[in-house]
């Protein structure tokens, strides 16, 4: 095109005023862009309604039989409540830590004094599929998606899952009732 512009070769101004304007405007734009981006990103986080729907739930344990696995949902996440048989309790206590991918003692998987009760999140720690109960070689779960296996207290025993099934925050209200979602006033585990 015929019209081109070039900075005037006028040396009477020293550049400091223009430099200042350039830097100040640039800094203002950067801060402004971040300030504008924040609400957009934040709006994608779980909203108040979703958080409110995540209030703690109570589960009655009386109907659950020995060896049975019951599915419950808290915050839209699947949770297994499992009543271990006395054989499973004995077997799981006997597993050496060296045989595990993420070593965890039996006592760390159940609440003190409630050896029979296991409460774990029901999504495989690999990519989130639901492992099938009473399958696999470890009296626990086997994942149909990528072949991970968990034992009767939800410890991963065969990959690709990297960690044990996490334990949600919960507490025994009575011997036959648990409350999932809070742990004696503390937040999420």
């Amino acid at each position: 095109m015929a019209n081109t512009t070039a900075a005037p070769a006028d040396a009477s101004h020293d550049g400091s005023r223009r430099d200042f304007l350039f830097l100040a405007t640039g800094a203002g734009l950067a801060v402004g862009a971040a300030a504008v981006a924040w609400p957009f990103v934040s709006s994608m986080a779980p909203d108040a309604d979703v958080i409110a729907a995540g209030a703690p739930i109570e589960v009655d344990l009386t109907p659950i039989q020995d060896g049975q696995i019951v599915n419950v949902f808290w915050r839209g996440k699947l949770i297994f409540v499992r009543k271990l048989t006395s054989k499973e309790v004995t077997d799981m206590k006997g597993v050496p830590l060296s045989a595990m991918i993420e070593p965890a003692a039996f006592d760390s998987r159940v609440k003190n004094g409630h050896d029979q009760w296991l409460v774990v999140y029901g999504n495989c720690t690999h990519l989130g599929c639901v492992p099938i109960g009473h399958q696999g070689n470890f009296e626990g779960w086997a994942c149909p998606c990528h072949g991970s296996q968990f034992d009767a207290v939800g410890r991963v025993r065969r990959g690709p899952a990297p960690i044990n099934l996490p334990i949600p925050p919960y507490a025994f209200q009575t011997d036959t009732k648990i409350r999932i979602g809070e742990m004696g006033g503390k937040g999420e585990a």
Binding site: A45, F73, G76, L127, C145, P160, P162
Partner: protein, 428 residues
């Protein structure tokens, strides 16, 4: 586009008035009418046009489906069934959209193999090629988001598995996952935002396609001989030669599309996706759509979450480095006797990976996946650099005309007029 001077001369006063204000007719003329096309292009070069057609089909059927679809965890599945049963021709729109996605990937894989086989990624077409890789990535994201929308079992568990893949990213993974979910698991906010993003990405694809075509018209097309246009005899004008060929190939490809659409519309899908999403039960055999299977096999090849995720993404990203990994100065495999064999082996390995991705992750399948994954990366990291160093290429023909007629023969008939014989790559 900008690489070739327009030979368009407006005739009427109105056309002159308009052209001096917005030279868009000249732009179209120089890009799609006078644009010089190598005269030796084979049918592999028609897949760009086929892909453009499918982008159009997907956008149009998608916009119409969105008029009936309800993006919510409670309504999505039922609204898709409503589209299938109640909406006039809803079945046609939905089957066209679902099978159109598969055909889109068939075409893009042929297009990508063409680029790799004939060395279309090499200088001066690196940017053109990398834009293509970006389009492919956007296509994968769009296809994944779209597949979650019917909210069947495969939709739900596909969404769960893929968002869990992102959670493997160190430090920020959990935050990204939570922002994608909009909750504590895949649920109503997830399907809602996935619909929004599924509607957004095709327009981004369209935008990158414009850049892709622009870059193409700056460097000019590669061709089966892999040598540049040297004279007017080497080229023919885009219209009518390439236009007719592209349209013909598109129509033939549409026969394949129609065959799936009308005779086996569910063949490429999964029956499990006609069961509404159930967060308590994972389908017994969860596999992605066929076009993701090779990458799924790579993901499962390593018994380590982060490692598998890194390998899978690397398998796509490594494509973008092909221009620099390939050390050969010869573009076309037609003149590379050794590398040509490796190209076909590579294609075979991709097919085997695809098959392995559809099999359960156990025993021999895992070992085979590991071997094929190793070969996939070795092709880029060993074969590409080393072949270029040790291979003795066949002699290149003196010109594109010579590659067609044999050395020393003259060619009669149409070519580009001498003056218009733009050899855009010479300029660059």
């Amino acid at each position: 586009m900008s690489g070739t001077a327009s030979t368009y001369v407006p005739k009427s006063r109105v056309a002159k008035w308009f052209e001096s204000r917005l030279p868009i007719v000249g732009l179209v003329h120089s890009s799609f009418i006078a644009y010089p096309v190598p005269r030796n292009l084979n049918y592999f070069w028609t897949f760009g046009a086929i892909l453009a057609a499918f982008l159009g089909i997907q956008i149009i059927t998608g916009v119409w489906l969105a008029m009936h679809y309800e993006p919510s965890a409670t309504g999505a599945f039922n609204s898709v069934e409503k589209i299938m049963r109640d909406v006039n021709y809803g079945w046609l729109l939905r089957y066209a959209h679902a099978n159109g996605a598969s055909m889109f990937f068939v075409a893009v894989y042929v297009h990508m193999f063409r680029a790799l086989y004939y060395g279309s990624y090499k200088a001066p077409r690196e940017v053109l090629y990398i834009l293509g890789v970006i389009i492919y990535l956007l296509m994968m994201a769009t296809a994944f988001l779209g597949y979650t929308l019917p909210w069947g079992q495969m939709s739900f568990w596909g969404a769960t598995v893929i968002t869990n893949i992102l959670a493997a990213i160190p430090v920020v993974g959990d935050t990204i996952q939570s922002l994608l979910w909009g909750g504590y698991s895949v649920g109503n906010p997830t399907v809602n935002r996935f619909f929004s993003l599924h509607y957004l990405l095709p327009w981004m694809i369209a935008g990158v396609v414009v850049l892709h075509v622009w870059a193409l018209h700056v460097t000019g097309q590669n061709n089966p001989a892999g040598i540049p246009i040297k004279s007017g005899k080497d080229a023919v004008p885009f219209t009518p030669y390439a236009t007719v060929k592209d349209v013909f190939a598109t129509v033939v490809f549409m026969i394949l599309f129609a065959w799936f659409l009308f005779f086996m519309p569910n063949y490429l899908g999964h029956a499990d996706n006609y069961i509404q999403a159930n967060p308590a039960v994972t389908p017994a055999h969860i596999v992605p759509e066929w076009y993701f299977l090779p990458f799924y096999a790579i993901l499962r090849a390593v018994p380590d979450k982060l490692g598998g995720v890194i390998l899978m993404f690397s398998a796509v990203i490594i494509l973008a480095f092909a221009p620099w990994l390939d050390t050969s100065r010869i573009r076309s495999c037609n003149y590379r006797p050794i590398y040509r064999q490796f190209m076909w082996v590579f294609l075979g390995v991709c097919f085997v990976l695809g098959w392995l991705g559809s099999q359960p992750p156990e025993g021999g399948y895992v070992i085979a996946s590991q071997i094929c994954t190793a070969y996939y990366f070795a092709h880029f990291l060993l074969v590409m650099p080393l072949c270029g160093l040790f291979e003795t290429p066949k002699p290149l023909p003196g010109s594109i005309v010579e590659s067609v007629t044999g050395p020393g023969r003259q060619i009669s008939g149409a070519g580009m007029p001498a003056g218009a014989a733009a050899a855009p790559q010479v300029k660059g």
